[in-house]
Structure formats: structure tokens, C-alpha cells
Amino acid sequence: MKKENSPTIRAYITVQIRGARPELFLQKCAGKGISIWDVKKIEEDCCQATIMFRDLGALRKIRRNSLYKVSFVDRKGFPFFLSRLCKKRFLIIGIFIGFLFFFVLSNLLWSVKITGVPKEIEEKIETELEAFGIHPGVWLFSLDTPKDIQRQLLNEVPELLWTGVNLQGTTLHLEAVEKTIVEELPPGEPRNLVATKKGIITNMYVSKGRAMVSVNDYVVPGKVLVSGNLNTEEGENNTDAEENPGKPIAAEAEVIANTWYEVHVSIPLRYQAEEITGEQKKKHYLRFGDVQLPFWGFKDPDFIYSQEERREQPIHFFKWELPISYVSKKISETEKIEEQRSKEEAIEAGIQQARTQLENELGPEAVILSEKILHEHTEHGKVELVLYLSVEENIVKEELITQGD
């Protein structure tokens, strides 16, 4: 027994047939191969039946040669549902726009919260972030990864010791720790200034305190350079009237000394380097679980050597993370360079290397005056160098004056 249960996916219509003995009309239709179901007799001359929508043409053809009147009562099924939806186009557009709106809004960066630093550094960080293109109103998936932001920030804002970047929903939480210019000693406490390194003093700028050494003196670490004790010898009081006379003060000075370093470097004569040629290709994917659907950039570039950079950004809807994420891949062509250099070039590179090494060690305030090669020799395809560098730098360190009591 074949039973055609009201198929919702297909369109079907309920019709009313009026006329004398409408069942005969239905019988005629059935004889023509139209499947009819749910026939009910409403009145003596009125019958209600349901037929498939595609049989409507055949039904009309039969009706044409008869006296029956056919009227439509109801239309059901998915296609009708669709067409009805189409009629309410503005509602649909509205819903769609609404969803789009939420979707867009939940993928925008709404605010950047910086905590842990004073106002001026916060402002500095903000301008830096602005320069990286991070400000309220940008797409979340155009943001760099938190690691990258951290690294860039640390590079660009020298005052920062550490940053923690954390994307929480549509807010970028940025926690920063300022490099405190190590002031373990409470300011204002009486102190001396002592040397940290051995060297020959070239310049002294004493703003507070009494100089214990003079220019061109040779000092060793620990030697008191500027004393905070003003009246050890004669008891004379200088300009510091507000300070209690006789009491030691906090010495303040900058003592520039000529110091020297011995640096050992070894430079290979052959070297390999990988260089990005500038040719690059971007590919964009949408990832659903394990499936990656490319939606932009389909062709594989024909690079021999390449570097791939992959970034993934989840897409959000409200606070939920959708199972879809946006993946962009940057493939950059690279070139392998293998070069041989002469001994002179190697030495040149070695000196450069030593300089940068020392500069990194001493900080930006130190100035490298000159360098001398003390010793060089070539072995196993490497040039070993011992360099002598003379540097001008501030060698001051603060030291509390311990008052015996």
C-alpha cells in the first residue's frame, strides 16, 4: 500500500471543487494520473482535496471541459514557504542585516585597555599601537597575534620591560610593566657615587656633591667618585641651604670615563644566508575544523625556496567563537645565498659584530671610540680575532652612605 504522506519538501495545494457531484470530477482527475489525497466532502456540492502543485496544470485542463469550479484554499510545502518568505523580503533583509551587523560588530576591536603603567607611557603605547594599526574599530582578524604585538611594543617603547597582550572578546587587554630605572635606593637619602668599572675619567658633571677625583684620573671599581659628605674636610657648606648643614646629601653627577674591553670574535669565511626576494603571495582560507577552504589565492606560487607565515583568526559571533576561522598564509620567496669572503672582509665583519655586541651590552649611552686588533689568526676556515675596544661611558653607581649608629 503506497501512502503519500503529505510531503513537506514538495509543494502541494488544497483545492475546493464546486459543482454537482464533485467526486466524479476527482475520479476523472485520478484517472488521468493525478494523485489526490485527503479528500473530504464539505457540502453536497463541494469537495476539498489535496494535490501536488505540479499536477495543477493537468487539473486545470480537465476543468476546462467541465462545469466545475476550482478554488484554492491552502498552499503548503517548502517552495511555498520560500515564496512567502520572498514576499516578506524586507523582513528577511532586516534579519540578514541584523545578523550581519552582529557578526561585524562582534569581530571588531572595541577597546584597548592598558593597565599597569603610568599615564604618559600609556599614551605612548597607545600611539605606538595606533601606528601598528591597532585601535578601536579595526577587524579582529586583521590584528597580529598577541606575541607579535608584544614583540613590536617592546621594540618600539623602550620604557617597557614586559607586556602581556590578551585578546578577550572584543577588548584587547594590554598589561605592561615599566622598566623602573632601578631606584632601589630611596631618593633623597644621602649617598655617594662610586665607579663601576675601571677607566680613565674624561668628563665629570657634578650637580650635587663633592668630586673626589678629577679628569684624567684612573679609577678602579668601588672608588668613590663623588661624595655626598660635604663637610668631611673643612665643614664648608655649599649652596644646599635647605639641607641640614653637616648632614650628607644625595650626590648627583655624571662621570664619563674611558673604559676598554677585550672582545673575542670568530668569523667564518664561508657563509650561507637566506634572503627574501620580495616576491610574495597571499592565500586566504576559511577553516572549518580540519577542512580548509581557500577563498582567495588558489594558485601555488612556483618558488623554489619559500617561507610560509600562517596566521589564524577565529571568527566570533557575540561572545561565541564560531567553528569557522579565517586563515591567511603569506608565502615569501627566499633565495639561498652562499658566499665566500676574503680575510679582510671577514675582519671587517668581525669588528662590526664586536661593536654591535658591545653596544647591546652597554646600552645606547656608551660611545665606542676606537677598536684595535690585538690578535688574529685563521683556522678551519674561520678568522679568530681578539679586539680591543675603547669606550666612553658613564660609570657611576649610587651607594648609600651608611651612617654608623
Binding site: M1, K2, L24, L26, C29, K32, S35, I36, D38, V39
Partner: protein, 99 residues
């Protein structure tokens, strides 16, 4: 002539035990309790109301009586009726006969 044909058919049916509805062009009727009435191989609908369904068959009519009838399905030679069936009558040329 017709009588002769009829006799051949009966003979075939008895001797070769062929199903009677095929050989005799008779309707096959299935009734499930008083709920469903299913007929195959009828020859047209003669009358349909909420209380009665009359179908033309090989030699006469089948008349189903009851109430709240709904034709659940209508195909060229089949009809399925749903409702409360109280009686089924075979109206032959000779007259009514109850099953």
C-alpha cells in the same frame, strides 16, 4: 458468449489456482478493522459523501457506509478510505448482499 467466457475463467481459477482478482477482474478489498478500507482495481467512483462511498466494480457496485469518511488517497484504480466503517455492501445487478 459472455457466459462461456465466464466459465473459462472459473475453470482457470479452479484448475490452475490463479488469484481470483486477476482472473475475474474483480476488486481486491482490504479492510483494517473499521478504520480503513482499501480497494484496488475498482472501475470508478460513483458516489462519495461523508457517510457513503459507492464504487463501480466488475459487475455492480461496492457500497461502504459509515461516517466521517476521508479519502486518504486516490489513484487511477485504487482508493483508500479512512473513517468509521459500519457496513460494506455488494450491490449486484440482482440486488444487495452484505459481506
Amino acid at each position: 458468449m459472455k457466459k462461456w467466457q465466464q466459465r473459462i475463467r472459473s475453470l482457470l481459477m479452479e484448475q490452475f489456482s490463479l488469484p481470483s482478482d486477476v482472473v475475474m477482474e474483480m476488486p481486491r478489498i482490504t479492510i483494517i478493522g473499521h478504520l480503513h478500507f482499501y480497494i484496488e482495481n475498482h472501475q470508478g467512483l460513483a458516489l462519495y459523501t461523508n457517510e457513503e462511498l459507492r464504487l463501480k466494480v466488475a459487475n455492480g457496485f461496492v457500497c461502504i457506509k459509515g461516517h466521517s469518511f476521508v479519502l486518504k488517497m486516490m489513484l487511477p484504480k485504487e482508493i483508500m478510505l479512512e473513517g468509521t466503517i459500519s457496513e460494506v455492501l455488494f450491490l449486484n445487478h440482482e440486488g444487495g448482499k452484505e459481506e
